[in-house]
Amino acid sequence: MTRGSPEDRYFPIEIPILTISPGKKLSIFYLEVLRDRPGILAEVTEEFSSRGMNIVHSLAHVEEGKGLIIIVAERPDGVNIEELKGHLGSIEGIGSVEYEESHIEGLLIPYHLFPFLRGTVRLVALNAKAITSLSEELSKILGSSASGAILFRIGYEMGKGFVIGHLKIAERVGIKDPFEILRHISVPLYASSGYGIASLEEAGGVFSLRIRENFEAVDRKSKEPSCYMTKGMWKGGLERIFNRSISIEEVKCKARGDEYCEFKIEIPRG
């Protein structure tokens, strides 16, 4: 995998799950794309700009000629929404058009973007603050040792569950070797799912799993490696992939002040 110049920094696509525009009346339009063609997005955006509606966000996703266009726009008084919907629906290639208004000025949280899917797999989004809150409070209530054990176990079970999806992808693509599943599916999916940028190296039969910007280490300080949930996730996932016990230790941790989190993994060859 190559990325471009090493100096390049990520500029992630923000999913417009919500829009904040203080004082503005906001509307969101969902346009079904039945037949994608060059210029379709330009025609859609022209309908808004011709009515003086400032587009705050737009998101278009097309796959194999079909997809969805989402437009979040400020809604000035006097705009005839039904008339606009009619014009949008008459654009060649556009199917149904749905619409939602913000319930309160300045904030729009879409109702129709549900559920989240990756293929046929349903997903939910967790935010970093929720994990931090869980980790801190469990530690206060139970002490760090017990809370670490609980977080590890949660991670372990989640890891086993995540790998169900990894194995399905492997089957579709024709990957059978567990080491290939780990390297080509589990490792990149960790970043793709937002947890951290993982990379894997092997030396003398021991794997080093390096994770930059790991979700569990964000905004947290610790005297020792303490990404228990992460450790559990990888142990549970790897044991499912390899069908045998593996050992894993966290040897570096961003929460401790290291540059990244690192785990040493021993996978007995079968």
């Binding site: 995998m1 190559t2 471009g4 390049d8 990520y10 500029f11 992630p12 696509i13 923000e14 999913i15 799950i17 919500l18 210029g39 997005l41 330009a42 955006t45 587009i55 966000h57 998101l59 996703h61 796959e63 997809g67 208004e101 300045g106 904030l107 949280i109 879409p110 109702y111 129709h112 549900f114 559920p115 989240f116 990756r118 293929g119 797999v121 997903l123 939910v124 989004a125 967790l126 935010n127 603050k129 929720a130 931090t132 869980l134 609980i150 079970e157 989640m158 569950g161 995540f162 169900i164 992808i169 024709g174 390297r183 080509h184 999916l189 793709s192 799912s193 937002g194 947890y195 979700f215």
Partner: protein, 267 residues
């Protein structure tokens, strides 16, 4: 105004599967959005004889990003740099990152990192991971202990979710706690993929209805309401927002055969 639910599906994490094909992904920074920019990009691909597998384009405030995956099977090694060079010459385009599939037929996006919702990092949990967590913990601990633990986990996470809700509300100029609940919390449950929720406010009480609640759908059938995690989330979130104790009961549950899950909160 809420239209009838159309249930549009948006791919949240990008995994492209096209068996046998060599794939290349590009993440293109848009420094100055303008009409026709996507057409210019797709024209480049057409001129190079490339098939576009999928494309997502996002813009806000005149800037944005475009992510696309193309099939480069049978093309020379130089094709990626050819594409980059042509993209670079398009007006309004900034940096360009790329990723080539290491295994034919599969490209898992690692360019779009981190996943963000405003200033908050998010990450995704699959339904399968949730099901495994709940079923295995129940088997190990027994249902009663599992319910107590998963409630507590939900409660602590709910407080964390609520920090996010309060932050969003503040940015939008919403200060009143009841408005935070009404305009932010309720919507965010659906916007985070947990379930479609709606809210009724009564005298010192709230009725929260959740359809397609992930916890209920992923749980085995039950004789009684069993969405302990959700109950914990609602309790923790309301406690944080209202800054006072809240008592929450689940009065209907999809896992118990009801049409939806319902929670009554008293404060």
């Amino acid at each position: 105004m809420r239209e009838g639910s159309a249930g549009f599906r948006v791919p949240l994490t990008r995994v492209t599967i096209s068996p046998g094909d060599r794939l290349a992904a590009f993440l293109i920074e848009v420094t100055r959005d303008r009409m026709g920019i996507i057409r210019d990009i797709t024209d480049v691909l057409r001129d190079l004889g490339l098939n576009l597998h999928n494309i997502s384009a996002y813009a806000e405030g005149g800037k944005g990003a475009i992510y696309l995956v193309v099939n480069v099977s049978g093309k020379p090694e130089s094709i990626v740099s050819d594409i980059r060079n042509k993209f670079s010459s398009i007006d309004g385009i900034g940096r360009i990152l790329y990723q080539i599939s290491e295994k034919d037929g599969l490209l898992i996006d690692t360019l779009n990192f981190p996943l963000m919702r405003y200033d908050d990092r998010i990450f995704t949990l699959t339904e399968e991971a949730w099901k495994t967590l709940t079923s295995d913990l129940t088997a190990i601990l027994g249902s009663e202990a599992y319910h107590a633990i998963i409630y507590r986990i939900g409660y602590e996470m709910g407080k964390g979710f609520a920090e996010n809700y309060v932050d969003i509300a503040r940015r939008a100029g919403i200060e009143e706690p009841m408005d935070v609940i009404r305009y932010v919390m309720s919507g965010m449950l659906a916007a985070s993929g947990w379930g479609r929720s709606s809210l009724e406010i009564g005298e010192n009480s709230l009725r929260i209805k959740i359809e397609e609640n992930l916890e209920a759908e992923a749980s085995p059938k039950s004789n009684e309401p069993s969405c302990y995690f959700t109950k914990g989330v609602i309790t923790g979130a309301l406690t944080r927002i209202l800054r006072s104790p809240v008592e929450v009961r689940e009065t209907r549950c999809k896992a118990a055969g009801d049409e939806y899950c319902e929670f009554i909160a008293r404060y």
